[in-house]
Symmetry: C2
Subunit: 222 residues, 2 copies
């Protein structure tokens, strides 16, 4: 019985570490978009500097999960929980990667005039970040219904990204001198669309854990 | 003892299914590039039609892995093997996604004149595919050294993708009427760069499984 209580405590520790990981990934995205808005390259540097810490925490969480799998014979729902943590952990690390990709693009844009572009990157970013946050809330609450709401938000992110692609292509054709800034904005928009994809993966993992059903590729659409 | 032999047999079945998954993902990439070369939209359709089968196999493999984790108390190396399969499986499914993304772009390009672009997409694709194939060979042979060779190949893919970005940006500036084709080629190049990233992830998983060490973020660089 004491072993069981200790095991539950370890599962809770694992969850807490994953939430720290989520906070770091989300902060990295927020910073990269602050850098985009302000063109402040020192914020880009903060994003680059935070990456090794995110990577270290990813390894630490994986090791905790692996130790739990090795030492105990978890019951079905605990097993699904641990596997979900492993998957969510990988997705959060990739959210951090997207923040780095965005910061690289912002740094590139620094060489060119700051110009008005037909894409609302901060709005797209806040939508993608909200998806990550809501997916993690669903994880904390073990709430499959909230997780399903995240899947629906992804359509909006995809639409905004598609609209950005169209608007930026037209701009490039009309004003080729704006090509570098437009291409960088186009890639940042795609990076944010991928953040939305990672949030979708996380939401699907929550549903898988809570309901024991694999919803991937059925409820959400590509 | 019989239970142990049966367990080893199940591990081998799992490996065989993962190799089928790898073959399907690789074929999807090959087809999407055939479609690019020939602008044959019926090949795009083949890529779209193969996606549900890849997704089904991903779920099947995950379920096999989960059942093995739930039913047995695997030893450390077997546990690492099963976790590696779960991760490699997810990466292969995302390679399939990239093939779909490429096919979507090829279909878009169909509306515009076929023009010579300063990017050798088939060469980039064959390098990225070779990475996936070699990572899977390293997996079959449990060969960490071959897996390390895959990590080195990724630098070349990144360089080719960066060069494509530069060359296509310049082309767009000089000849804005080629914007749609150039943007689509630029995105296909990035899709292939992501295939290389997935192969890198797979190679790292092989090293993790064989050596018991987590090499992520240390040997390979972003």
């Amino acid at each position: 019985m004491a072993g069981r209580i200790k095991f539950q405590q370890s599962l809770d520790d694992l969850k807490q570490r994953l939430l720290v990981m989520a906070g770091m990934a989300e902060q990295a995205i927020t910073r990269s978009i602050d850098a985009y808005r302000t063109r402040d390259l020192s914020i880009c540097e903060q994003v680059f500097r935070s990456e090794p810490a995110i990577n270290r925490l990813e390894r630490e969480i994986d090791q905790m999960a692996l130790d739990l799998l090795a030492m105990e014979q978890p019951m079905a729902i605990d097993l699904r929980f641990i596997l979900s943590v492993i998957r969510i952990n990988a997705d959060l690390e990739r959210v951090g990667d997207q923040a780095v990709n965005i910061a690289v693009r912002v740094r590139e844009m620094g060489a060119f005039a700051n110009t008005d572009l037909p894409v609302d990157i901060p709005r797209l970013a806040s939508l993608a970040s909200a998806m990550v946050r809501k997916a993690l809330e669903a994880f904390v609450e073990a709430d499959a219904e909230s997780a399903e709401a995240v899947l629906k938000m992804d359509d909006q992110v995809d639409e905004m990204n598609d609209a950005a692609f169209g608007a930026l292509s037209s701009l490039i054709k009309e004003r080729p001198e704006l090509t570098p800034q437009s291409l960088n904005a186009l890639i940042i928009s795609r990076n944010l669309e991928r953040v939305g994809d990672h949030a979708t993966n996380i939401a699907e993992d929550v549903i898988f854990w809570v309901r024991g059903a694999d919803v991937r590729h059925s409820m959400s659409k590509k």
